[in-house]
């Protein structure tokens, strides 16, 4: 099998050459620093390359868009980050932002306009679904044909922005046995990491939320738990480890499932 090296296009370099990519790919802090989630970004970038999409990343100029600070009550810090990010995005005349993390998606789409940042914001799941609908992307039917997949709705894609069907459409395209969890779509249970919880210990209780949710996912008998958010991935993967099931059951991001089905 032949391989081709991917050079990630960086906005400042393209801009210096007078090129303007169609999309700014917002990698997000988890995509940049979380070892597990880096793989998700790599998988998604492979799909972008496979589709010959015109995109670039901010690279070292990217900085936190402030979402975790805002959810944790630090509005001052959020707005300072947001105004800086808007400055950078406007400098590169960004029109379309492609996000992976649903928290970043939510904050760009719903909250940046209040601070003067107006962009067309597309979440990668919507992007993948559109490419499949337009038949530009034809996921492979072999890689997951013997798998049972369940999907955990991230709160910030689901309830927060009502993106429920697109991830399911994408997952159905890989020819797997798709099973819903008992609580799904608008009824889905949070993984426990939203609202700043990702960065702190949970308050005292009788159970960890991620264990409750992982148990529900396990009830489906799925061999793959699909997620679409870096925080959810951390929580569900931890849940699988806690239950001692991480060897037999995989927690994959939807981008990884599509990339794998295509043999990228």
């Amino acid at each position: 099998m032949e391989t081709r090296k991917i050079e990630i296009p960086v906005m400042s370099e393209l801009f210096a050459r007078g090129e303007k990519p169609e999309y700014l790919l917002w990698v997000g802090c988890a995509g940049a620093y979380d070892d597990r989630y880096k793989k998700v970004v790599r998988a998604f970038v492979k799909i972008l390359e496979y589709l010959n999409i015109s995109y670039a990343v901010l690279g070292k100029e990217e900085t936190c868009n402030g979402d975790p600070a805002r959810r944790a009550g630090n509005e001052m810090l959020f707005q300072m980050q947001a105004l800086q990010v808007i400055d950078i995005l406007n400098r590169y005349e960004v029109k379309k932002i492609l996000t992976i993390c649903p928290h970043c998606y939510n904050v760009f789409k719903n909250e940046y306009p209040d601070l003067g940042g107006h962009y067309e914001v597309v979440n990668y799941i919507q992007f993948l679904n559109k490419c499949i609908e337009e038949r530009k992307l034809k996921p492979g039917k072999e890689a997951f044909k013997d798998s049972r997949i369940t999907y955990h709705d991230p709160c910030y894609l689901g309830r927060a922005n009502e993106v429920y069907e697109e991830p399911r459409e994408v997952l159905r395209s890989v020819n797997a046995d798709f099973r819903e969890m008992k609580r799904n779509r608008s009824f889905a249970l949070c993984c426990g990491a939203g609202g700043g919880q990702m960065f702190k210990e949970a308050e005292k209780g009788t159970k960890e939320i991620f264990i409750e949710r992982t148990e529900e996912a396990l009830e489906t008998g799925a061999s793959v738990i699909a997620t679409a958010c870096p925080f959810c991935m951390t929580m569900i993967t931890d849940g699988l480890k806690y239950k001692g099931r991480e060897q037999e059951i995989k927690n994959l991001d939807i981008a990884e499932i599509i990339a794998q089905s295509l043999g990228l």
Binding site: T63, C64, E111, L115, C155, M198, E203, G205
Partner: protein, 439 residues
């Protein structure tokens, strides 16, 4: 004539007490802050039709939801009949709306059928409350008072339905015995009348009158009991749905006062000129009732303590202290405690207590994952997370108080532009040695 005078007096007392209550509540609303401008009336009407009149969110629990929908729809139709009763009571007439012909027949028939449906639903609700242990009705915020309040409200509705059917059945039986014309159609009461034995028309007229008076006086009492009860949602839910936040649940409101400050810091040359005139910013976030918006307070008055929010809250489900229902009940209770004093003694009134800590603990606030399950579930579109975040905003920006790990997250963002302690130099490490298979 005596009846008319008594009726008009009762009506005046009802309106008088109601006016007093409403003016008191209006004064409390004047203590609150602006939320958002109310526009997009088209969207608001369709939201009201769907969520309030269509009962779309309560039907997310189909069985109990349907029973509630029957009570709601019954309430709407029976209310029309009550208007006729008020006209009759004031003017001393009988079935004054009968000139509406088939419309009147329809209102009477629908009211009569719904009276039975509501009665059955309320009996189911009372059974659930009294004899079944429903988890949703329990919780630290559910004191004895809440339970009694629920039982009283349900019992009053039950009594209203019994008297409505008694009134209709007496009316029909009396008409049958005297050969008088029946105005309106009463399918359920016609059956009930058939079950009644006796030939003295006067007795049935008495049954009709006693039921009529009991029914209308109970309505008068109920209308004035509701504002002091958790059951105030009877009045508040439709306006609350109409005045819903229309934005996606994920969106938090921007704090303009903070934007001014931040712009002053980042672009001092641009910002100074315009911000000179601005008054010193008030308190950031919510500490007590004077900091909440009118929408927060309206939410709290619309809450009927059904507990659907708490029953889906991931924090509550896993034993944490947070209960979204409690947040709303606390706001309402605190406003009831402090609001009237503020109205009387001025906005500076201080009782050395506050919504934060004396009612809602930091532990509760920090347990929220902002997953919005509570807001998604609330049948009357209450938004709990926005208030929780506003209280976090107070804690962080006014007191510098937050769990240590969150403070560390803040300083990571400040120092290296990421919530974790990594260097911006490493931001592209993920892109190293990336290859794609070419098939």
């Amino acid at each position: 004539m005596t009846g008319q005078i008594i009726f008009i007096l009762a009506l005046l007392v009802t309106f008088g007490v109601f006016y007093y209550t409403v003016s008191r509540i209006a004064a409390l609303f004047r203590l609150t802050k602006p939320a958002f401008p109310v526009k997009d009336f088209g969207k608001r009407f369709s939201m009201m039709l769907k969520v309030a009149f269509g009962q779309s969110k309560i039907l997310r629990r189909p069985v109990v939801g349907f029973l509630h929908a029957l009570v709601f729809w019954g309430f709407c139709i029976i209310l029309l009949g009550s208007i006729e009763m008020v006209i009759d009571g004031v003017s001393g007439t009988e079935k004054s709306l009968r000139f509406l012909g088939p419309v009147h027949d329809f209102i009477m028939a629908a009211g009569d059928i719904f009276a039975l449906l509501v009665l059955v639903s309320v009996v189911v609700f009372l059974t659930r409350r009294l004899f079944l242990k429903i988890k949703r009705f329990e919780g630290i915020e559910m004191k004895k008072k809440s339970h009694i309040d629920a039982i009283v409200s349900l019992s009053l509705i039950l009594f209203l339905m019994i008297t409505l059917l008694g009134m209709n059945a007496g009316y029909i039986k009396h008409a049958e015995l005297t050969g008088e014309k029946i105005h309106g159609v009463y399918p359920v009461s016609a059956i009930l009348a058939g079950l009644l034995s006796g030939s003295n028309a006067e007795h049935f007229w008495l049954l009709h009158r006693i039921s009529w008076w009991s029914h209308i006086l109970t309505i008068f009492f109920f209308a004035n009991y509701l504002p002091y009860s958790k059951h105030f949602h009877v009045f508040m839910s439709i306006p609350n749905v109409f005045l819903s936040r229309l934005e996606p649940l994920g969106k938090l409101a921007n704090m303009e006062s903070v934007t001014r400050e931040v712009k002053l810091m980042l672009y001092p040359e641009v910002a100074t000129s315009s911000s000179d005139q601005e008054a010193a910013p008030g308190r950031f976030g919510v500490k007590d009732v004077e900091d909440v918006t009118w929408k927060n307070y309206l939410d709290s008055l619309s809450c009927t303590e059904c507990g659907r929010c708490t029953s889906v809250c991931p924090a509550n489900l896993t034993g944490k202290k947070l209960s979204p229902r409690k947040i709303m009940m606390d706001l309402r209770a605190r406003m009831k405690e402090k609001g009237p004093e503020m109205v009387r003694k001025g906005r500076d009134y201080n009782d050395w207590k506050s919504l934060l800590r004396d009612y809602i603990s930091e532990e509760e606030l920090w347990a929220c994952t902002t997953c919005n399950a509570c807001a998604r579930e609330c049948p009357v579109n209450i938004n709990h997370p926005s208030l929780i975040i506003d209280m976090r905003r107070y804690l962080v920006m006014e007191e510098g108080s937050a769990p240590g790990q969150l403070k560390a997250m803040f300083s990571n963002i400040e120092n290296n532009g990421a919530p974790w302690q990594y260097s911006p130099e490493d931001r592209l490490n993920w892109a190293k040695d990336l290859e794609i298979n070419i098939n």
